[in-house]
């Protein structure tokens, strides 16, 4: 049964993630008074990219060719272990530190690929990405640790059940940690105010700069992996920090209800992200560490509130 579930999640996350991205773009368009591309536009873009040829530079090495597979593969590996609609007992990649460090492995190879291009853009994109990733890890790890202290377990698949049993009056640390995690979500996924995913100016790019050199199927993998990562972060955010609404049994009715609730929560998170993107300006790069340290301090306060 668990293997079936696991496989279904491996299929569901890549299937849904371009849709979430399309939803965020649609909401942004509406807030700008336009109608914007349809929600399924990212699917069409990916499909087109898979059919295009590739242009590869002779300066690139096997790292450049292998990185898209590694980056996408790690997001798949995590897809099975984040709670989407139900918590099932054992997910080998569900430990919170494995979650953080597998994502870090993907970022590692993405940054290497950015450096492999030999052009200036990839290099400084990697530099900024590693700075942001290194500084956001503190807040990310401590936020998840705060949630695990409250839940008494540190496997992502088990935590929602334990967390939903806690009365609301004791959940202040969880919400502080949720704020810290949300800041990490924005910084790890190249959203405002840390990075602009739709910019054309190379000097303002972080994530885009590293994939500037990719084309064809590899570009499709990189962009798809980025949206997978976004969906995984959103799933952790809405299901760990707002843990109500997960199915407690594997009956189809409960599962479909949980799926509906999850989609609703994901839409709310997408709306929050799009709202921030439409109302805030992107930070200067050297103001971003202040934001990331704020995330760290929030989660440290959450932990202290729990244990003191």
């Amino acid at each position: 049964m668990e293997t079936v579930f696991y496989t279904l999640q491996w299929i569901a996350v890549p299937l849904l993630s371009p849709g979430v991205l399309g939803l965020i773009r649609k909401i942004k368009a509406y807030m700008q008074g336009r109608r914007g591309a349809s929600i399924v536009q990212p699917y069409r873009d990916l499909a087109k990219l898979f059919k295009k040829d590739e242009v590869v530079s002779p300066d690139n090495s096997w790292i450049f060719s292998a990185a898209p597979y590694i980056v996408f593969g790690t997001t798949l590996a995590l897809a099975g272990s984040v709670p989407l609609v139900a918590a099932f007992p054992f997910a080998p990649t569900g430990d919170i530190l494995i979650f953080v460090y597998l994502l870090a492995a993907g970022t590692f190879f993405l940054a290497l690929a950015g450096m492999d291009t030999g052009g200036g853009f990839g290099g400084f994109g990697s530099s900024r990405e590693m700075m942001i990733a290194a500084l956001s890890e503190g807040g990310l790890i401590l936020a998840l640790v705060a949630a695990s202290f409250l839940a008494g377990a540190n496997n992502l698949a088990i935590m929602p059940d334990a967390l939903s049993a806690i009365p609301l009056s004791e959940l202040l640390p969880l919400f502080l940690a949720a704020g810290a995690f949300f800041i990490s979500l924005l910084s790890e996924n190249a959203r405002y105010p840390v990075d602009n995913p739709a910019t054309h100016l190379e000097l303002t790019m972080v994530h885009e700069a590293m994939i500037l050199e990719y084309s064809g199927p590899k570009l499709a993998l990189m962009e798809w992996a980025a949206s997978n990562k976004l969906l995984i972060f959103i799933a952790v955010f809405v299901n760990i920090f707002f843990p109500w609404g997960l199915a407690s049994s594997l009956a189809p009715a409960a599962l479909s209800l949980a799926l509906g609730i999850f989609l609703l929560k994901a839409c709310a998170a997408a709306f929050a992200i799009a709202f921030i993107e439409s109302t805030m300006a992107k930070f200067r790069i050297f103001r971003v560490p202040d934001l990331l340290f704020t995330s760290f301090v929030l989660s440290a306060i959450a932990i202290l509130l729990i244990v003191l």
Binding site: S38, K52, H200, E208, L212, L219
Partner: protein, 166 residues
Amino acid sequence: MPRSAFVARDKEFEILGERLRETVFSSLKGSLAIREVAAGSSNAEELELTALGNAYYDIERFGIRFVASPRHADALFVSGPVSRNMAEPLRRTYEATPDPKIVVAIGDGAIDGGIFKGSYAIAGGVKDVIPVDIEIPGDPPSPQAVITAMLTVAERLGQKRESTNT
């Protein structure tokens, strides 16, 4: 979906846009990525292309978007008479774009030099530097002209895709 604040004001543009959406959907599976190259232009054409993305025209609805790198692009929209210094970069941009691709010379200057035709400072029109598939006259062309030309772009690129797929 709740109603957006968007109100379609330009009826003629909307009709063209509807046709463009259908063409992009049928020929290109609904996705077209454009990279603009300013090869010594006055930027009037760039302003028009940027304006196509604003809330009034909103070209994104039709599945068309502008990308930052030629590696990501399907179509190159080149504007301006190609100045001597931009000839080589333009060639490199063309080589950096993966197949199937299509080149559009937008604006009078790009077609054959426009008011700078014959000048010592330019290398000629875009077709003297890289192969051009479609030309859009005008200095700058109006959004309607651009959209009409994009219909041809979509069809032509769709044909190229068919031929490379078989």
